[in-house]
Symmetry: C2
């Protein structure tokens, strides 16, 4: 109680001196910031502040540290494992007003942005340059949040994840120091890779305020297609052979027939209700034709039906928007539900087996379980739709996920291809990497955040 | 003296119990292990041990820690910044007998190797699979050493460096724990990126004993070509436009006319003595033709002369061997000399300017200064040939390098694109990243190696 009073009286007053009306303790704002897209119950912060500069973030960090108040960085709240829930109260630092594209270096194929710039905003901003930023997790997340969670998504099979596409970060450390982790050159062998240490650290080691990302030339030809299959096995085997053949496919995502039905209903589309792969090919005109021919031949061998093509930019966008809306479309199939979303990623040689066993297992779940994902990387998601009013459903879904994670680990995979650890996968990560690795991570956490104030309780909780 | 006696008597005896005759204190063996390819004077270790398993490395680490003896991991000694010099004595742990390819997963496009496997050995081993490992720093370095120094080289412009191509590492920590940093899946968002933390740590945080690397399908067509230009500017501008046009060139390296002359003499080749770019194109037959046509057109605009092609595998190998031998060829132009090799890497938009200013500057050096490098990444090397008997020459070369580093930093570049820090670039890294970043690195060093026994004195020296 003393602590709470201290927060109310002095922290809040000091925050207001610092930020004026960019401090809120209204219930609505706090609730909005105490919830992401996951199934976790609300955990609102004590206050929400809206920062506009790195120096403001530093001042907030210094203030919170002095008062021993937890700090949770927040982008747009699209995380899926409770990353931004204020489970120990404290101040939510909303970075969405840090929305300036600071520098675009067309000739160097990179850009420097504030952490609150979203991926769509960046792509809109650079449209005229003939360049684009490829990492696309579906949601229009902020680049700070995407870096913090090592996001990936549909394009990762060709362009990599945030791990490969962040060149440098500006970070406010727990002690208030501001560091720039690297220079802007495409490669460097200068010391420990602090950039990659912060990519995926989920706000637990410091607060990312600026991100330098790689950009890529828009290719001469970009074609997307959907192809329905007789079975999920047909989808996975087609993609496996495509990857093994070295076809530089830009995207290849699976959606199961339940997902297609949900998309059709939600988007008023008329895709054939069958297991389907969404493809995209980038390259010169002839190269795209070559790639497409190769993949069509492979698909045919595995029960693939006709390719339905989208070549104009707006058609491609529409097609991938349908894929991206799958999450919300599936949620609609059980109104009022939330999703327990799984995220395993396995070596591609084990993908068909892993998907197959998993589909068998989930037959017994209380509701249909849609499957979708980035199978070119060996990464797929199941959506267990749960009634938030019935905790036993969430527990049941988690039991299925536990078996799935164990299955993926037996196959040398990971519990999380792209969603991260947050609150939801702490136990899974321990199973995956073992006590010694977790201890090393915990030591790193203690080194960067000795007072346990940076998004506490996530990734490797200290107490 | 007490310490030295302790080493002689008990450490050596214990090492011999552990490893039998795989312990050497002979002057020849110690000298061989106290020198890399750099200009630094010999710094032999007190003893050299030859490990064959991770468990042996662990036992050696435990033994050395108990006796507070420094440990220096050693591959084949091709580093260029004094990385493996035993500047504080201690035990050199030679890993070259850890030369087993443990697993090749053809379908997953990856392999698990012991740290002492060299890149050529791996490529020979997997030849029949139609896959290859692309990272190629020239020297036939071990994969453990390449991971430890975040090596890159000629193929990095397309396939990335060791940063992108290591999936997981087995590491012996200073306290004797053995950790596996990640699973074998292509991507993961599970916690802090320990893999990337050890890639580039140069043996100062732990000893890498196994490396899981990505492999790539050998493309249908692989063609190499050399193209001579009227000027170095012509070379750099051609490559800059090639990259900016999004041509997926697999390799593009520059050698200046002095380097070409040295290669011709050393290899008995007859390349035109002019600034030259070595290209390589990978892809389908039509895509390679397309790429080549685009680049030839760009080259022509910038004073490029005829492309001389090598399409058969043995011709390609020969061509790139000539490029790789440039280092030794240049050394021969001043018999008995050693090279102070520079390694800046700048954003490509600044490359022409950086090379131009640098060529002007080095006109005044006492000997011709060959230029070569991976200009597709913005990374180039100068070789200052110095007489090791004349320390003033080394000092002079270092003064030129200091100006070059300052120039690269002004252009938002790095002091080291690929050679790493070792002993030689500690000051440059401090200039590049600033005190706060170096302090963070030093804290990480202390966390992993509180007794300062893991390759002490390198990257971020503790005392």
């Amino acid at each position: 109680m003393n602590k709470a009073r201290e927060f109310d009286q002095s922290v809040l007053a000091e925050l207001k001196i610092l930020l004026g009306d960019r401090v809120s303790t209204s219930a609505a704002v706090r609730e909005h910031h105490g919830k992401d897209e996951s199934y976790f119950p609300y955990a609102p912060p004590d206050a929400v502040v809206f920062a506009r500069t790195t120096e403001e973030v530093r001042d907030i960090v210094n203030l919170c540290r002095r008062h021993r108040v937890p700090m949770i960085p927040y982008g747009v709240g699209t995380s899926l494992e409770g990353h931004i829930l204020a489970v120990r109260g404290g101040v939510c630092i909303d970075l969405s007003q840090m929305d300036q594209v600071l520098e675009v270096h067309e000739s160097d194929l990179d850009a420097v942005v504030q952490a609150g710039v979203t991926r769509k905003q960046l792509n809109e901003y650079i449209k005229h340059t003939g360049l684009f930023f490829p990492v696309d997790p579906g949601a229009d997340a902020t680049l700070g949040g995407m870096a913090a969670t090592r996001a990936s998504g549909t394009n990762a099979v060709r362009y990599g994840t945030m791990r490969e596409n962040v060149l440098s970060l500006k970070v406010v450390l727990a002690d208030g120091r501001i560091i720039q982790t690297a220079r802007r050159s495409k490669k460097s062998a200068a010391g420990y890779d602090l950039t990659r240490l912060f990519v995926g650290s989920e706000g637990t080691l410091g607060i990312i305020t600026e991100v330098t990302v790689r950009l890529y030339p828009v290719q001469e030809a970009m074609s997307a297609a959907v192809c329905a299959f007789e079975s999920v096995d047909g989808c996975t085997n087609t993609v496996i052979q495509t990857i093994q053949a070295g076809v530089p496919v830009a995207r290849c995502d699976i959606v199961c027939e339940k997902t297609v039905a949900a998309i059709n209903k939600f988007k008023k589309t008329d895709y054939r209700v069958a297991p389907t792969v969404f493809f995209e090919f980038h390259g010169s005109k002839t190269s795209v034709v070559e790639q497409a021919e190769t993949v069509q031949a492979i698909a045919k061998e595995h029960g693939g039906m006709d390719f339905v093509w989208a070549t104009k930019p707006e058609e491609r966008t529409q097609l991938w928007q349908a894929r991206h809306d799958a999450y919300f479309a599936c949620l609609q199939t059980r109104p009022g539900s939330r999703a327990v979303s799984t995220d395993v990623c396995v070596p591609i040689s084990r993908l068909a087996e892993c998907v197959h066993e998993t589909m068998e297992d989930v037959k017994d779940y209380i509701a249909p379980v849609p499957l979708l994902g980035h199978i070119g990387d060996g990464n797929f998601h199941l959506m267990f739709l749960v009634d938030p009013a019935k905790p036993e459903e969430t527990e049941l879904a988690k039991a299925f996920n536990k078996r799935l994670v164990e299955r993926a680990l037996r196959m040398e995979g990971t519990c999380t291809g792209e969603h991260g650890i947050g609150l939801g996968k702490i136990g899974s990560m321990q199973m995956e990497l073992g006590d010694d690795v977790i201890d090393v991570m915990r030591d790193i956490k203690r080194l960067f955040d000795p007072d346990n104030l940076m998004n506490p309780g996530k990734v490797v909780p200290l107490q």
